[in-house]
Amino acid sequence: MTYNLGISRIDDLIGGIKGGTNIMMIGPPMSGKDDITNIIAYHGLINKNAAVIVSTREPGNNVLDWFESRDLSIPPDHIGIVDCVTRTLGFGAPDTENIKMASSPVDLTGIGVKISQFFERFWMEMQVKETRLCINSLSTILMYSNLQTVFRFLHVFTGRIKAANALGVYVIEDGMHDDKTIVTLKQLFDGMIEIKGDDDGYQMRVAGLSPKPTPWFEYEIDGVNIILRG
């Protein structure tokens, strides 16, 4: 079982990502990490994968809108969103087919339960065995819980990703955490999508998933495509 990121030249260079891989995506604010995360999920969905997106910054409906507004021909029942935002805003929204509500980003127990429920549904009821889990973002969770707590949570769920031969993508804000935090969390991941740059342009590369890191590529996000330059 292998996965791709949906970024063709990088996918060619790393030659497919084996099931059970956990990837940290780290980059500065405003570099398009939300879009990149959704695009990685999208490229799974068009290949009949399922996607579970844990959203700690945007209400679940906004994430769902991202997919719906692009009028993508993807199976809607393959998307599961764990919404950690809506209930902290004081809205008592109930769970829906696509969106399950966690109480807050502090509620790691609840987030874990909702992830497991989506995995159970995709695996056991729908027989979809290729699933992508995207947590966007760990930085918000780290604002509410200490490093050790987040590490314990990730230790369990990166293990579950391995057991299920799924693909995990975990977003983290560059510059928001100290080196110790990043180094500690890195231990849990098999590879990294690194993003650097400024308002003049951003570059990305992938490290840890091939014998040597890919070159840095300037990129531009165009709808559901990431166009690399250089």
């Binding site: 209930r87 008592g92 109480s103 807050s104 790691l108 339960v113 159970e120 200490n146």
Partner: protein, 392 residues
């Protein structure tokens, strides 16, 4: 005794939790745990008792909404239900609650609010901690363990029952051993059945210090509304052609579907039952001989079998025995449903037992499935038998 309100659990606890004692719901990560505490406090308050709910990771308003999702209206509890707000302080939000923890990541601050709430309770109450693991994450493992001892002692003074929801993240072995072992009077283990992913959940008593322990695990499901239901994943409904199997499945189920042709089941009936704290998926087989291979297929992994008979059609009784043999489920609980008791010539359950040469340990239940008469009584007997079989 304070009842937990979790189906079958109070029986395993020999009536519930004695006043002044503590209980921990000890859950594996990814398995639903908080609903156990919620159902326990709901049970206490809805029976006229008092409840204190200590929240750590959820806005109190949302707590009340969560209760509502399960069909429990916290507004009806009035002042018999109190929230100790250990969340709002974390995000710097105002709280309308009577008891607010000013510093949720300081165990002393939390303890102070909890003690105030315990003192303020009119009478012995149940105190439920939404998430002990969140408290541990915020305040530290050792500090929390020490505090639990203090809370338990304090609760004992007032005859309160303390209930903790705890998710067993990979804390230190010592911490997990304490939570699972010596720190509370009883431990209920909540786990997941895992094969690549968690696809089933169970609970069982790990420890009680006021009576003998019955070590058995029970599968459960969480329904909204409804809460925790003991879950029987597969009950087979079989019997001869036209005995009323599909009618029985539909009569018993909250929702059901049949694969049939011209009114005759050609593949299966499937129904979901939600009755008195128990949930079950029931599968009805076709009755015609030409579908016998399907009967065998459907019977795999069944936990119990309903054998449906047309009470007036003795000619089919041989076929009924034969169908029971086809299921190849020797040793599983069987409940015979003597259906169509309302038609002329129907044999009584005892007469049917004689005709079938069945021993007394197999219940024969009278029923009229078309009017739902006797179907739930038969289900109750099935549940009893399945639980009995699983405890051996």
């Amino acid at each position: 005794m304070m009842k937990t309100g979790i189906p079958t659990l109070d029986d395993h606890l020999h009536g519930g939790v004695p006043q002044g004692k503590s209980l921990v719901y000890y859950a594996h990560p990814g398995v639903e745990c908080n609903v156990f505490g919620m159902q326990t406090v709901h049970r206490a308050v809805s029976e006229g008792g008092h409840g204190i709910y200590v929240t750590s990771s959820t806005d109190p308003r949302m707590i009340r909404d969560q209760f509502k999702e399960f069909g429990w209206d916290a507004a009806e509890y009035g002042d018999r239900f109190v929230i100790v707000d250990g969340f709002s302080g974390l995000i710097g939000a105002d709280s309308p609650e009577q008891y607010v923890v000013s510093n949720p990541d300081d165990i002393e601050s939390l303890t102070q609010s909890i003690k105030q709430a315990m003192e303020g309770a009119y009478e012995p109450s149940v105190i439920v901690f939404e998430s002990l693991s969140t408290i541990m994450d915020l305040c530290g493992e050792d500090e929390t363990l020490d505090a639990i001892k203090e809370w338990n002692k304090y609760a004992m003074l007032y005859d309160h029952v303390v209930v903790y929801n705890f998710t067993a993240w990979p804390y230190s072995e010592d911490t997990l051993a304490h939570v699972k072992g010596d720190i509370c009077n009883s431990v209920i283990l909540i786990g997941g059945i895992t094969e690549k992913v968690i696809f089933g959940q169970y609970f069982g008593v790990k420890k009680i210090d006021w009576d003998e322990i019955t070590k058995k695990c029970v599968l459960f499901k969480v329904l909204k509304p409804g809460g925790i239901r003991v879950y029987l994943p597969k009950i087979l409904v079989t019997g001869p052609f036209d005995a009323g199997k599909s009618t029985f499945v539909h009569a018993l189920s909250t929702r059901a579907v049949s694969v049939d042709r011209l009114g005759t089941t050609v593949a299966l009936d499937h129904g979901h039952v939600d009755h008195r704290g128990f949930a079950a998926d029931i599968f009805g087989t076709p009755g015609q001989q030409r579908f016998d291979p399907i009967v065998k297929l459907l019977s795999g992994e069944a936990m119990g079998i309903f054998l449906i008979l047309d009470s007036a059609n003795t000619d089919d009784f041989v076929r009924a025995r034969q169908m029971l043999d086809i299921t190849e489920t020797v040793g599983l609980p069987v409940v015979v449903v003597a259906n169509k008791q309302d038609i002329a010539g129907a044999l009584t359950p005892e007469e049917i037992r004689k005709e079938l040469k069945m021993t007394n340990d197999i219940p024969v239940m009278p029923a009229v499935a078309s009017s739902r008469e006797g179907v739930f009584e038969a289900f109750d007997v099935m549940v009893e038998r399945v639980l009995e079989a699983n405890s051996r």
